[in-house]
Amino acid sequence: MRVILNGAARDVDVLSVEGLVEQLTSARRGVAVAVNGEVVPRSSWPAARLCDGDRVEVLTAAQGG
């Protein structure tokens, strides 16, 4: 399955948002996810299924004023 992850096409072998986040970072606090422009709350990550072509944004804290 191919998704657009943080702006770049990527082949993934995981099915859930939770699985995808785990591949990117071990942190949990400070991480937020949007799929196709909609917020996916952390409590929904395990159940949230990814689909081919999904646009996924995985975000975390960065310096900013």
Partner: protein, 246 residues
């Protein structure tokens, strides 16, 4: 909400995490802003450092140009940082980075209804500030001058008008260049200041952070102490009574 120090530090612009940490400690703040960015670009270590120092997080919606985007960013930040505080930025123009008042008010209204404590970055327009307070914002944060400009407070009279026209805290946000600007903000009656570039981009950020801490404290004390009125002519401080005749 404002913390004892009345100084909120923006974390943007620091050269390194170590320099940022030194500045945070020297500032005495307990509330710092952070942005949300893609994990691959953000770099690790910021949040663990802020947590280690026991700081509260004020997420911003930097980079948003529409109410829709800012509302989305706020919801993502709430999920990430488990706080209902948000520094709401809806920028109107890349060159000035000044707020878009129409989009800002719309976003603020939505986020208040969604249960956020909204701290909007606004212009120094007293009417817009009042409208933001009216829709339920927890504070208003007028710009003294454009973000990162270091120009100080362009229109002190408007900041005072804002202080007089809302019942929520007024936080001077953006424009501060050096310690006297922060002191002036407090003397005008602001409840706190938010400073980023003036500290993080100073030649010695930790030293400037300490200067800001003292300036905020001095300005607040002076505001409460009741300054003397300005006079056209002098008023002798030494009495003429008992003056000898030579």
């Amino acid at each position: 909400m404002l913390g004892e120090s009345r100084l909120i530090l923006g974390t943007g612009g620091a050269e390194s995490l170590a320099a940022l940490e030194a500045a945070i400690v020297a500032s005495g703040t307990d509330l710092v802003t952070v942005a949300l960015r893609r994990v691959d670009a953000a770099g690790p270590g910021l949040l663990p450092m802020l947590d280690r120092l026991g700081l509260r997080i004020l997420p911003n919606t930097a980079g948003c140009y529409t109410a829709t985007d800012a509302v989305k960013a706020a919801h993502l930040a709430r999920d990430a940082f488990e706080t209902d505080l948000v520094k709401l930025e809806v920028i109107g123009d890349e060159r000035t980075l000044l707020p878009d008042g129409v989009e800002l008010l719309r976003a603020a209204e939505t986020l208040v209804a969604d249960g956020f404590r909204v701290l909007p970055y606004t212009s120094d327009d007293p009417i817009l500030a009042r409208r933001l307070a009216d829709v339920g914002c927890a504070a208003v944060m007028p710009a003294g001058a454009p973000i990162g400009s270091g120009l100080g407070i362009s229109n002190p009279h408007h900041i005072r008008l804002i202080r007089d026209s809302v019942d929520v805290p007024v936080i001077l946000d953006a424009g501060i260049g050096t310690a006297s600007d922060a002191a002036l903000a407090m003397e005008l009656g602001c409840d706190a200041v938010l400073i980023a570039s003036a500290v993080t981009r100073a030649a010695d950020p930790a030293r400037m952070a300490a200067a800001m801490r003292h300036a905020v404290e001095a300005g607040r004390l002076a505001y409460g102490a009741g300054r003397i009125p300005r006079r056209y002519h002098a008023l002798a401080s030494t009495s003429d009574e008992g003056r000898p005749a030579w």
